[in-house]
Symmetry: none
């Protein structure tokens, strides 16, 4: 787990850093919000321990920027102001947890661990072939950066082919995996769908035909 501590009170900063390191956590320490934003661009932190009362760039600002940029770091906000309103406000800014000074060190460690325990869910990979990209989660296909609108069947066929780059995929194989069991095994729908797909993908061809065997993409 990688943690960035942002705390302008230097002694406290060093103390937190040393304490977390003693727990086997990789820690970087900076003392103002500007440095924090720089560091966040340079390395992927799991947890950000953030003092709210920072000079110049406040903890709230850093927190908001983290959320805006969609950074994966979870934010643990430290503050002297422990009123309910402040706490709620901080959480709504995008902080993931809140701790009021003075705090007990074991609790800080436990909360940092809790935040770092689970990182985001694994993202399904984007399939690529030449200048064609297929994103399964977004259900989008682009060619040279321009979106290509595909029907569900066309999309499924392309995904199946791009998922097996360089391999020859037979029409029977496509029927089995892309179509359901109701598909007529003597149908010509595979070649029709492939024709439409090729037409939408344009030139140069992404999918080649291997006579008597099937189709191939990528490689």
């Amino acid at each position: 787990m990688r943690v960035l501590v942002v705390e302008d009170h230097e002694l406290l900063a060093r103390t937190i850093g040393a304490g977390l390191r003693r727990e086997g956590i990789a820690v970087d320490v900076v003392t103002d919000g500007g440095q924090a934003l720089e560091r966040l661009d340079l390395a992927p932190y799991d947890v950000l321990v953030l003092d709210r009362d920072l000079p110049i760039v406040s903890g709230d600002d850093v927190c908001r920027r983290v959320a805006e940029r969609g950074l994966p770091a979870r934010v643990l906000m430290l503050t002297a102001a422990g009123t309910l309103a402040d706490r709620v406000h901080g959480l709504d800014l995008g902080a993931d947890d809140y701790l009021t000074k003075p705090f007990d060190f074991p609790e800080l460690v436990a909360r940092v661990r809790a935040l770092g325990r689970r990182s985001g869910p694994p993202v399904p990979p984007v399939l690529r072939c030449a200048d064609v990209e297929l994103d399964p989660a977004r259900r989008t296909v682009t060619r040279a950066g321009r979106p290509v609108a595909l029907s569900p069947k066309e999309f499924a066929v392309l995904a199946h082919l791009l998922g097996r780059p360089g391999l020859v995929v037979s029409a029977e194989d496509l029927l089995e995996h892309v179509w359901d069991e109701a598909a007529n095994p003597f149908t010509t729908t595979v070649k029709t769908t492939l024709g439409r797909l090729r037409a939408k993908l344009g030139e140069p061809p992404i999918i080649t035909t291997v006579r008597d065997s099937g189709y191939r993409a990528g490689d």
Copy 2:
């Protein structure tokens, strides 16, 4: 966001459930740990509000099982025992946050929301897409600066979509996260709600349909 409340004190359980629902959150309520474990197998909850002092299967046990099974649910532990040692112990068991009774309801809501944010990819506090802005904390939506009045369900659906910009969200996914257990899996309510939502949002469309797959906003 979908929440499971586990609280053996029935009146308190119902009060929490009703209060969260009023905030547009899909809530299921059970009154013991055994039921909680069953429910957790049946539906993907985002947040678990868990009383620590449960009969038979304790909150600690439930919490441990959640962590062991690698369930995506975040745990907010409720307890009467507010000593530091207890809090640290709870967090080490896998709880993600801690609240001591008696608590203020706005803080419970804020913490549940914060945990719900964490269960997905990090989400900025205000969701935007084109000229539409959605503020989860204020429960407001504006289009081109003009307020749009949405019902709780419509709001929750829009928030779920805007929180996953560019991703295709299936009707099943919406049913699981926006509706609670009472939802009929064969219902047409999702498309009806989406129709009403689109009508209120007006032109140009914010939400697009991906045939056979689901809906997408943003991107």
